[in-house]
């Protein structure tokens, strides 16, 4: 794929994925959600299943739901799919198939006086997503149970801004029953969403880089995924142009598959010697 094509194709795939996975438009108008059989299928990207248009299930929401079901204790279906998705293409999913990531990228395109590449204490902040995965997605839902022995989806309840944007806002706007029961938690989640969207004006995909537990999971597979990057050392001049172009400021020329890389491909586009190559599954790299 040539560089110009790559630049155009990624936003197109992102837009198509967001639209196709949320295409039950009736729900947005009458404040209800889709109830068809496709909701049993976990989508690879973070897409709230309470979004009125959602046709599939959110993997993080489903993971918490099946983890907390008293009869299983280990969520084979969702964790198996996450391992398979991750080993197939790692964080390509973040870069190409995540609707909330796409929304943040669109917001980042809005002109703003101060665009920055990273926040102070960037390295520590990037560890947050791993802590959120362990504490809010796994431990708290597993061990803090209610009187009936069922855990709560802690990440969805207290953190997830995708749920607030895709589900909370449209449902509360269109559904008068829900509007009457909103309280402090709703305000709290709106505040998190507002902070994330404001940060997205300045930094590229702040939720994905600091907080997303799904990105953390896929990141573990980045170094070995079938779909990954490779640097041709014979062509690489170590000029560092890739790192400068990388919105995450990753030294791609030294380490092409770090956990934080979301495969936007900007490093490939900028490389003057075409040293960065994509290894496609079941296909020899060009």
């Amino acid at each position: 794929m040539d560089k110009k094509k790559n630049r155009k194709i990624r936003p197109l795939i992102q837009a198509l994925t967001a639209l196709l996975s949320n295409s039950w438009l009736v729900g947005f108008f009458n404040g209800t959600i889709f109830k068809g059989a496709t909701k049993s299928i976990c989508l690879p990207g973070l897409n709230c299943y309470s979004c009125p248009g959602a046709l599939g299930a959110c993997p993080i929401g489903s993971l918490q739901a099946t983890l907390t079901a008293a009869e299983y204790r280990f969520a084979l279906y969702v964790s198996g799919l996450l391992v398979a998705f991750g080993a197939f293409c790692g964080r390509f999913i973040c870069g190409f198939l995540c609707p909330f990531g796409w929304i943040q990228e669109l917001i980042h395109k809005i002109p703003f006086p101060k665009k920055i590449k990273k926040l102070p204490a960037e390295r520590i902040l990037r560890l947050l997503k791993h802590l959120i995965l362990i504490i809010f997605v796994i431990l708290l839902p597993l061990f803090f149970l209610d009187a009936t022995g069922i855990g709560k989806p802690w990440f969805c309840a207290y953190i997830c801004p995708a749920g607030t944007l895709e589900a909370g806002i449209p449902l509360v706007l269109m559904n008068s029953g829900l509007r009457q029961i909103v309280g402090f938690l709703y305000t709290w989640k709106l505040l998190i969403l507002a902070i994330i969207l404001f940060l997205a004006l300045m930094i590229w995909r702040p939720f994905c880089r600091y907080l997303c537990p799904l990105g953390a999971i896929y990141g573990y597979f980045n170094p070995i995924a079938l779909w990954r990057f490779k640097v041709d050392e014979n062509h690489c001049t170590q000029c560092g142009a890739c790192q400068q172009a990388c919105p995450m400021d990753l030294p791609v020329h030294q380490k092409p598959n770090p956990m934080d890389c979301m495969r936007c491909g900007k490093c490939k586009d900028i490389c003057p010697t075409d040293a960065i190559q994509t290894i496609y599954p079941f296909k020899k790299s060009k």
Binding site: Y49, C58, V83, A87, L171, L178
Partner: protein, 48 residues
């Protein structure tokens, strides 16, 4: 780790992942996901 070893490891993980997913479906987890995903999740929208 060589590129070939990475590919083999990825294929093994995909196999294990798909097998786990199928076992999960067989013991009814996909039905549970369906039940959960077809109700408005009050936690997700910031109410529950």
């Amino acid at each position: 780790m060589s590129e070939k070893s990475k590919n083999i490891l990825a294929c093994i993980l995909i196999g294990i992942g798909l097998l786990a997913a199928v076992l999960g479906i067989l013991r009814g987890e996909a039905v549970d996901v369906l039940k959960k995903a077809t109700m408005i999740c009050l936690e997700c929208i910031g109410i529950g």
